[in-house]
Assembly symmetry: D2
Homo-oligomer: 152 residues x 4
């Protein structure tokens, strides 16, 4: 899926647009998530482990896993949209493949198909240890819609 000819980073304008939008998502800050890579059609978001994001057994809660996966996919789509538009999630489906353990989790959203109205993304979430061990803990698929940005 990864096209090696793609540049590793989106243009500064696109990066700024996405970072600004991310910074307005109160939930991302509240969870402690950060944007770690913004490439054309691919965005990474990381979330460090701490008690505030757990489920009943101490693993990352599926809601936290899904939240950063949803945002990563949404912003991956958004990297390919024109300036005066916005992105909304239509739906997504996610399989929780393994307990989401790790020092942090990393969500990767990748555009599979970019259309004029709808975009489809693949969502992956990895559990990552500080020693570099990395395991796929969730995999999903997401549909997004491009909308005109409302006048400010």
């Amino acid at each position: 899926m990864e096209d090696q000819s793609q540049p590793d980073q989106a243009s500064p304008e696109v990066q700024k647009r996405i970072q600004d939008s991310f910074d307005r998502q109160g939930l991302m800050a509240h969870l402690g998530a950060t944007l770690t890579r913004i490439a054309p059609g691919r965005v990474h978001i990381e979330l460090p482990g701490r008690p505030e994001v757990t489920q009943q057994h101490g693993y990352f809660h599926a809601g936290a896993t899904s939240a950063i996966a949803d945002s990563a996919g949404g912003y991956a789509a958004y990297t390919l949209f024109p300036e005066d538009t916005d992105v909304l999630t239509v739906e997504y489906k996610i399989n929780l493949l393994a307990p989401a353990a790790g020092d942090r989790i990393e969500a990767v959203g990748t555009v599979l198909k970019s259309g004029r109205t709808l975009t489809v993304c693949q969502l992956e979430v990895f559990g990552v240890q500080d020693d570099g061990e990395r395991k796929l803990v969730a995999n999903g698929q997401q549909t997004l819609i491009r909308v005109k940005r409302p006048e400010q």
Copy 2:
């Protein structure tokens, strides 16, 4: 789907088991979510609006919506499980039907099919105003698995 002959509340033992598990979910407390109804095969969770749970336009973030939907479905399944078991989400799919606005959102998880190994739930999330107005903002479907509880 709602069977009117069902009791409105689960037994005290089941309610306690679910409340205890919910209280161990760090994410639910961190978001500010509370369990508001525990009936056999149906669980309600509410989340008040505040800046910490928003997306970039000030609505409830899909990740917050999904987090309480996932927990509501999981606990709805869990109401029907035997004492020495646990519940894990296998996967879910959710459609975000409308901007999740409201003074609070309420997730309702309802068991559609309860099997020996797998349970399927319907997930609904409503945007609720303090004046009582109520609108369906998300609808989903979830698969859960019953596992033996690990020895403590």
Copy 3:
């Protein structure tokens, strides 16, 4: 979900538009499926059991179950669309709740949310015995898009 105030049948024009489209679906005829009810926002399709629609154990194949579910949802959406439009399935998710046994299966597509661009439907498939016994064998959720009909 069923609004009892809804009329039981769509207008003759809408019924004709849908029956005509259905008749152009080579797959529905090849499977042996028929449209059995066209109400506003709700469409039923039936498929009789026969060896041509089975999986390896003699039950209805998930592909047959899904095919009539997808068409029932698509036409349910289409009952609410203006004359010069068409409907396309964006995506769907379906849980196969029980072996699809029965003298026939019946798919019911019901509009959950009808928007200007996107429509979301609930999909249900029942296994039905000639003696009237009826069992939910599959449950799903579908997203559809309204497109302008191409000039003929």
Copy 4:
């Protein structure tokens, strides 16, 4: 996703087990689908275009696309199962990315995660022209369960 170190073909025993099961699926023969590759954790199924598998615009019907995708994923899972077991689809979700045009369509089911009870597969369907052109027309994700084979 494709692990190049994987053998290109499953063992003769596994191939025979899967071909035998496929041959018992009345629907696959009725549609005209054939198994074209059986590798460990990956199965390909092809379906030639003809009027019997179309939707109202002459493209492959989503039901036909899904039917071979579901079977490809199911058999991909089954290649990794022990002899005395069987495979059932729990659920799947599929995005129809583009009109399914082509001289034939090819479904590829690939195991993403193989567990003791549950297996998760990626589903891809390509529209293929006789001149070799190949386009992704559908992408999905599927959950399967391993069951003990019932005594014959």
